[in-house]
């Protein structure tokens, strides 16, 4: 994994439902809740499966491979964070078409970003007294 500079980030408030997503990077894993009855990955987390309403859910890791669904190159200094320009992206996880999250595309110059390009997860580690956070960012697969 290439080194990435760690900028200031507003971190998420952890709870039992979101902890797996935000801390799985400690073991290098991108994790989601998954319905154990129908196999549907659920994001953002919720108390039951939206497909069959089962509460039989468990955390599972996915491959970390995804597709760049869309993105924007941000030039505005909204608040402390990565130095603009930086890329905000929506990626779709390969395991399930609807499994999607907003993230940053890193290790990619803006001109190289292409909708549909394959990307893979890379974690940005933020030590925190309430539990270290590992932001799942994405970089070009090639």
């Amino acid at each position: 994994m290439p080194d990435i500079e760690v900028p200031f980030r507003i971190l998420p408030r952890l709870n039992d439902r979101n902890r797996a997503f935000w801390t799985g990077g400690a073991e290098g894993e991108l994790r989601f809740w998954r319905c154990q009855d129908c196999g549907f990955y659920i994001h953002p987390p919720q108390p039951l499966c939206p497909i069959d309403y089962s509460k039989n859910l468990a955390v599972e890791a996915v491959s970390g491979r995804a597709t760049l669904t869309t993105y924007t190159v941000n030039y505005q200094n909204w608040m402390p964070g990565p130095e603009p320009p930086y890329i905000v992206a929506i990626v779709e996880i390969v395991e399930q078409p609807s499994l999607r999250l907003t993230t940053n595309l890193v290790n990619c110059v803006p001109d190289d970003a292409r909708i549909g390009m394959p990307v893979r997860v890379v974690f940005e580690h933020h030590p925190d007294p309430e539990g270290d956070i590992y932001l799942p960012l994405f970089e070009p697969e090639n």
């Binding site: 900028p7 200031f8 980030r9 507003i10 971190l11 998420p12 408030r13 979101n18 994001h43 953002p44 669904t69 869309t70 993105y71 924007t72 190159v73 941000n74 030039y75 505005q76 200094n77 909204w78 608040m79 402390p80 964070g81 990565p82 930086y86 905000v88 992206a89 929506i90 609807s98 999607r100 999250l101 907003t102 993230t103 940053n104 803006p110 909708i115 309430e130 932001l135 960012l137």
Partner: protein
Amino acid sequence: MDENEIIERRACVSGVGQSEIGRRLYRDPLELTLDACLAAIEHAGLTVADIDGISTYPGAQGEPRGFSGAGAYDVMDALRIECGWYNSGLETSGQLGSVINACLAVASGLATHVLCFRSVWEGSAQGEKGRSAVMPGGGGGGGFKASGFMQWNLTFSAPSAAIWIAMFAQKHFDKYGITREQLAWIALNARRNAEVNPNAIYREPMTVDDYMNVRMICTPFCLYDCDVPCDGATAVIVSRRDRAVDLRNRPLRVEAVGSRIDGRPSWDQFDDLTKMANRGAGKQLWERTDLKPSDVQMAQLYDGFSWLTMSWLEALGLCGEGESGAFIDGGANIARDGKLPLNTHGGQLSSGRLHGYGFLHEGATQMWGQAGERQVATPPEIGVIGAGGGNTCGCLLLVRE
């Protein structure tokens, strides 16, 4: 009741009003709100005693600062209004969700004349510090942590709707080959209209070069694709149509509303990121009337960010899917003398982010022929108003009686 009745047709828009509007007024937001409310009541030919309902978006809320100038109770109490029905809230079909609710209230008989309003003071709230002064978490200090839906975007340094909407625009442009040169015409058309609107905030002429050379915010949006925070309030009276026939203005019948949301109620989880919740709202509106998109003589479509207007044009069938770039290109179709006059007051891009209600105010004003120098030559008889973006969109089709 006839179960097939399109019940919103029992309602009409009978009057509109606005307060002073400015980039930063540093005036009491409640006072601005009341100025707009009293102006609208007077414009309708009513008195405060006639008002028996209130509806507003989003209602009283302290954060983010400037987003709400007054709640329903504030206005109710200040004007000593007694209500048969009242309503406010953020979780509805866009800013016009409050107006749609008012239509249903008068149609059901719970109220006769509903005072609807939207009040903002985002200009003053941001002061000289700009947008960062009102960012979630106060700009990142103090150990603030993100919860709820904000954790999924704030954490990735995506705190602004500009970024969220830019990603829809980028996807839409990529799919249909639309360019920034085409997008420019939303801002350029708005500015041409603002030049002849004395209440607009930015009135100096804007050229294509001005647009193409200004700094980028987040691709494909430049500064001129983002609306301008301001202070001001807008009020609209929704009346029972059978009680409005003898009022000052010809009733603007609510021919049909669109309030549907047919995908996940989310900015980044919507199934088709080239579309928004206006897809469902626009479709529902046309299911409720025999009129067709080709009957529309004027459109006032939300431009919190310029691409949202393109999204509304397509969602309402005013042009084909993916064809909004070609439709607005060059500006002829959407000019005041074009086939579909659009955002004739200058939109929020040039006349201020009055947040949805400015479009309804302008649409009604044009339909009554009261728009002064910017009046389209023949006051439209049929107009469509759409407001909101992302997971919060609503629209109205108005017909002058």
